[in-house]
Symmetry: C2
Subunit: 185 residues, 2 copies
DNA sequence: GTCTATATCAAGATAGAC
DNA sequence: GTCTATCTTGATATAGAC
């Protein structure tokens, strides 16, 4: 039984925190290594470049959201409004109460214009987010209206995370949830 | 008469482009120098650090917005709705059709959590933006409603810039303008 | 005011011992 | 799997000639 100081899963969890707080370019390999108790050199045993680990982090986030958040749109045992509420709540707890805001939004504005691989994953995340919202809203609104409302909710959410960073409050995000939910009934 | 290759004003203009496209940490002093035809060493004649020039760029943006955009809120010769339309239009042309989106939003998400000076200027910009919007909307809506609508417009706008980056379209921003304007009449 | 040259440092990444 | 040592590069910043 070998002595493991960490694992690929733990690294991805810690790396998410470090990237979210410091951004991509301002995060160094030694910061990532230190965050899970490794020396810089040891870190390369798990990931062979900074780009590689960022890709893994973003894919991990996407998987988490698909499995635990966006999937709520398909829970047919719940009423549409209950699904919407549950999904927004999950989205909130998944992205709130973390230092550094939202890794998806942060990475989009910092590096999506520089790296097509990052951009592709981020686009997939936004697309799934939009579609999950739309699929719920479609049960109460027309196709077009539901689509526009879904987009608007995503936009407002990311805008709220941004203002929340500046004014150091979660109130904007909570307000977006309430506003989105209110439109449903 | 000395031979000047550039000026502080030109540097600020070019630096804005470079920072907006590449972000703060991914922009190097030699990139900034090159953008206005200088050697890296010569650049330090004008600005003695990267932080200093970023501060100057952000203050420049703030001044521009105050003078040319937010001031429209006080043009008492125009009807409220005309002022709103004019301001949104100016905001659009000021921030659209540039590669890299919005320097305010980009810088907020990339470095506001790391640098209190940047964060202070960005906060002032958002505050003036919010107040300008609110001051117009207050003429048609209650204090509280106008405040909330103003915040929502700012959030949606920044969210639209983000989605616009991903999907490579200006349509989201245009939609936000229309949506904000529609509420006014 | 602009240039070249250079000092200094930190980052990404690799090599090889244990 | 983890470590230390090291290579290489590119960054910020300075010095001094023109």
């Amino acid at each position: 039984m070998p002595l493991l100081k960490t694992s690929k899963e733990e690294i991805l969890d810690m790396a998410l925190s470090v990237f979210r707080k410091n951004g991509y370019h301002h995060t160094s390999m030694s910061m990532l290594a230190k965050s899970c108790g490794l020396q810089k050199g040891s870190f390369y045993h798990y990931f062979s470049s900074k780009e590689e680990i960022m890709v893994a982090v973003l894919k991990n986030v996407h998987d988490f959201l698909k499995t635990n958040v966006f999937s709520i749109a398909n829970e047919s045992n719940l009423e549409p409004r209950e699904r919407l509420e549950k999904m927004l709540l999950k989205l909130g707890t998944a992205l709130l109460s973390h230092e550094g805001g939202c890794i998806v939004g942060n990475t989009t504005l910092e590096v999506a214009g520089q790296n097509v691989v990052f951009k592709g994953i981020l686009k997939d995340i936004f697309e799934d987010w939009r579609l999950a919202m739309k699929s719920i809203l479609k049960e109460e609104f027309s196709e077009g209206t539901a689509g526009r409302m879904a987009e608007q909710s995503v936009m407002e959410f990311e805008g709220a995370v941004m203002l929340g960073q500046i004014y150091e409050t979660d109130q904007y995000i909570k307000d977006v949830f309430v506003r989105t939910l209110t439109k449903m009934r």
